[in-house]
C-alpha cells in the first residue's frame, strides 16, 4: 500500500476554453489533514470534484491507496471510501437527521420486491454515529431545518465519516459558521484525523489552516504553486502565495503562470 491515501498525478481539466486544472499533482496522507488553498477560480473545487467522482479529468490520473481509480460518478467514489461534505452541505432540510444520515443507504428488511425500512435500527445507528464523534444533538428524529449551522455541519461531517470511508473531503467546512461553532467543527475534524482518516479541506480561513493542516497545497490559476508542511505554515506567507506576491516553489516546474 502506498504511503498516500490520495495521490493526484498531473491532473488536467478544461471547461470549454477555460483551463480549470493544469498538471495538478497533490497528495494526502491517512491520519493527516491536507488543506488546499487558493483564490476563487484557482481550481480547488474542480480538483476535489474530480477526486470525488463528480467531474472527470481530461488527463492525468488519481491513485487511492496506491491503486489507480477512475470514477465516473460520485457513487463509485463513495463505494471506494471517498466521502465529500459540500459547501452547500447536501442535507435535505425537511428530512430528519437519521433520514439524512442514511439517505440512499437505508437499512431494509426485504421480502421480495417490497423492502421495508428498518427505522428503529437506523435511528439507533444514527445515534451511535453521532455519539462516536461526540456530536450531541437533541434527537436524531429532529428535522435538519431546525438545526443551527454548526449542528448541520456536524451532521454532514458525521455522515461522511460514519461509513466505511477512508477519505473525507470538505469544501469550506466552517465558511458559514460563527467562531464558537467553527471551533466545534475543527474539533470534529481533528477527531476524524485521529481516527486515521485522510481529511482534505478546502479553506479560505488561513488561521484555521495553520491550526488544522499537516500539509498545505497552494493553488493559483489551475496550478499547484507550492507545497507547505506544517512547520512552514504562516498565514502571511500563504496570502502572498495565493495573490501571487510570492512565487512558490513549484512554479519553476510548472512554468510561467501568465501564459
Amino acid at each position: 500500500m502506498s504511503e498516500y491515501a490520495v495521490a493526484c498525478h498531473n491532473v488536467s481539466k478544461a471547461f470549454g476554453s477555460v483551463k480549470a486544472l493544469r498538471d495538478v499533482s497533490i497528495t494526502a496522507k491517512a491520519g493527516e489533514v491536507t488543506a488546499i488553498i487558493g483564490d476563487n477560480g484557482a481550481g480547488k473545487s474542480t480538483l476535489i470534484k474530480i477526486v470525488a467522482g463528480v467531474e472527470q479529468a481530461d488527463s492525468g490520473h488519481i491513485d487511492l491507496f496506491g491503486q489507480q481509480v477512475d470514477f465516473t460518478n460520485p457513487e463509485e467514489a463513495r463505494q471506494a471510501g471517498i466521502e465529500t461534505v459540500y459547501q452547500t452541505l447536501g442535507l435535505i432540510e425537511d428530512l430528519t437527521i437519521w433520514q439524512n444520515l442514511f439517505l440512499n443507504r437505508e437499512i431494509v428488511t426485504g421480502f421480495g420486491p417490497i423492502q421495508l425500512m428498518n427505522k428503529r435500527v437506523m435511528r439507533q445507528r444514527s445515534h451511535e454515529m453521532l455519539t462516536a464523534l461526540d456530536v450531541h444533538i437533541p434527537s436524531v428524529r429532529a428535522r435538519v431545518r431546525g438545526l443551527s449551522g454548526g449542528q448541520r455541519q456536524a451532521v454532514a461531517i458525521s455522515r461522511a465519516a460514519g461509513w466505511s470511508s477512508r477519505v473525507v473531503i470538505m469544501d469550506e467546512p466552517t465558511a458559514a459558521l460563527g467562531v464558537r461553532e467553527s471551533a466545534k467543527v475543527e474539533e470534529l475534524i481533528e477527531r476524524l484525523k485521529d481516527k486515521g482518516l485522510a481529511v482534505i479541506v478546502i479553506s479560505h480561513n488561513f488561521d484555521q489552516v495553520v491550526r488544522l493542516a499537516d500539509r498545505v497545497w497552494v493553488m493559483r490559476q489551475g496550478r499547484v504553486i507550492a507545497e507547505l508542511s506544517q512547520e512552514e505554515l504562516d498565514a502571511a506567507q500563504m496570502v502572498a502565495l495565493i495573490t501571487g506576491a510570492a512565487k512558490g516553489d513549484k512554479l519553476n516546474e510548472s512554468g510561467d503562470l501568465d501564459d
Binding site: 447536501g90 425537511d94 428530512l95 440512499n104 425500512m117 464523534l133
Partner: protein
C-alpha cells in the same frame, strides 16, 4: 442552539420508544404537525357547521354516503398529485388522462372486450401518459408545468379522436353493483380509495422509495449527490399519478355508466387544492398522503354542504377558491 460537539460525553439523545410523552410533546411543537393535521380539524369544523345549519339533511346516512361516493375520484387523483407535488412538480394532466383512460375503456367495451381487459387498458393508458410526462420532465429537464399542460391537451385530443367525441354507454352489472355497494354508509368506491391511500402511505413512509421522493423534492442536488436516482424518482411519481388517473377513470365509469370524452377540469383544481389543504409543500420535500386524502373529502363535503344548504351553484366555485387560498396562506404561515 449551539452544537454540543464537546467532549462532555453525556448522551442527550436517546432513540427511545415511539410513544413516550417526550415524543408527543416534540410532535406538538413541530409546526409540520399542525400543517399535516389542519385539514382534519377543518373537516371536523365543516361537519359541525353544516350539521348545525342543516340538522335534518346533512348528517344523514344517505347524504354521508353521497359525499363519500363523490369523494372517491378526487381522493384517488389527490394521492397521485401528492406524490408529484412532493417532488416539487405538478401534474396538470390528471383530469385529461382520466378522460383518456375512460374513453379507452369505452372503446374496448364497445367492441366487446371482457370487462377486466377494459379496466386494465384504462390503467395502462394512464401509466403510459404518466411515463411520457415523467420521461420528458426528467430526461430533457423541461418545466413540469409545460409538459403536463401539453399532456392535458394531448390526452384530451386523443380522447376526442378515439371516441369520435361521443360518449359510450357502459352497461355492466358488475361495475354498477360495485358503484352502489356499501358497508354501512361507506361505499365500496371509498373503500377502494382508502385501500389505495394505505398503499401510498405505506410506500411513502415505510420504503426507500418514499424517502427518496421526499429527498428529491426537498433538495434535488443534495439527493443526487448522495446517489439518489432523482430522474427515476421523478419518472415514477408521474407514472403513479397517471396510473391512479386510470383507476379513477374506472371509478368514474362505474358511477355514471358511460365513458365520456369531456374533461372535468374541476378534478384537476380539486386535486391540487386537496394536496395543498393536506399540508403538502408546493415546494416539495414534505407531506403525507392522509392530508391530501382528507382534503379531497373535505372539498367534496363543502360542495355538498352548500348544495344541501341551498346555496346557488355558482357560489361553490367562489367557496372552493377562497378555501384554497386561505388554506395555502395558513399552511405557509405555519412555518
Amino acid at each position: 442552539m449551539t452544537p454540543k460537539v464537546s467532549g462532555s460525553g453525556a448522551a442527550s439523545a436517546a432513540p427511545g420508544p415511539s410513544f413516550s410523552l417526550h415524543t408527543i410533546a416534540a410532535k406538538l411543537r413541530d409546526p409540520y404537525f399542525w400543517a399535516d393535521w389542519t385539514v382534519v380539524f377543518a373537516l371536523v369544523a365543516a361537519v359541525l357547521i353544516f350539521t348545525a345549519l342543516e340538522p335534518g339533511n346533512f348528517m344523514t346516512a344517505y347524504n354521508v354516503n353521497t359525499i363519500l361516493t363523490a369523494s372517491a375520484v378526487p381522493a384517488i387523483l389527490a394521492l397521485g398529485q401528492a406524490f408529484v407535488i412532493m417532488t416539487a412538480g405538478i401534474d396538470l394532466s390528471n383530469a385529461a388522462v382520466l378522460t383518456l383512460g375512460a374513453v379507452t375503456f369505452g372503446w374496448f367495451f364497445f367492441r366487446g372486450y371482457p370487462l377486466i381487459w377494459c379496466m386494465i387498458s384504462a390503467i395502462i393508458v394512464g401509466l403510459i401518459a404518466g411515463l411520457i410526462n415523467g420521461l420528458i420532465i426528467a430526461q430533457f429537464k423541461i418545466n413540469d408545468f409545460i409538459v403536463t399542460l401539453g399532456m392535458l391537451s394531448l390526452a384530451q385530443g386523443v380522447a376526442l379522436v378515439i371516441s369520435n367525441a361521443k360518449p359510450v354507454q357502459v352497461i355492466s352489472p358488475v361495475l354498477a353493483q360495485f358503484a352502489i355497494g356499501k358497508i354501512w354508509v361507506i361505499p365500496y368506491l371509498m373503500i377502494l380509495a382508502f385501500v389505495l391511500l394505505l398503499v401510498c402511505q405505506f410506500f411513502l413512509t415505510q420504503t426507500k422509495f418514499g424517502t427518496h421522493v421526499l429527498a428529491t423534492g426537498g433538495n434535488t442536488d443534495a439527493a443526487r449527490a448522495m446517489g439518489v436516482r432523482t430522474k427515476a424518482i421523478k419518472v415514477s411519481v408521474y407514472a403513479i399519478s397517471g396510473t391512479l388517473a386510470g383507476v379513477a377513470a374506472i371509478v368514474t365509469i362505474s358511477r355514471i355508466g358511460a365513458a365520456e370524452p369531456a374533461v372535468n377540469t374541476a378534478f384537476l383544481l380539486n386535486s391540487v387544492a386537496a394536496v395543498v389543504l393536506g399540508g403538502v409543500s408546493l415546494f416539495g420535500g414534505r407531506g403525507n398522503m392522509i392530508g391530501p386524502f382528507v382534503g379531497a373529502i373535505l372539498l367534496t363535503m363543502i360542495i355538498n354542504g352548500l348544495i344541501v344548504a341551498g346555496v346557488p351553484q355558482y357560489y361553490q366555485f367562489i367557496a372552493i377558491g377562497l378555501i384554497v387560498m386561505v388554506s395555502a396562506v395558513l399552511v405557509r404561515s405555519a412555518k
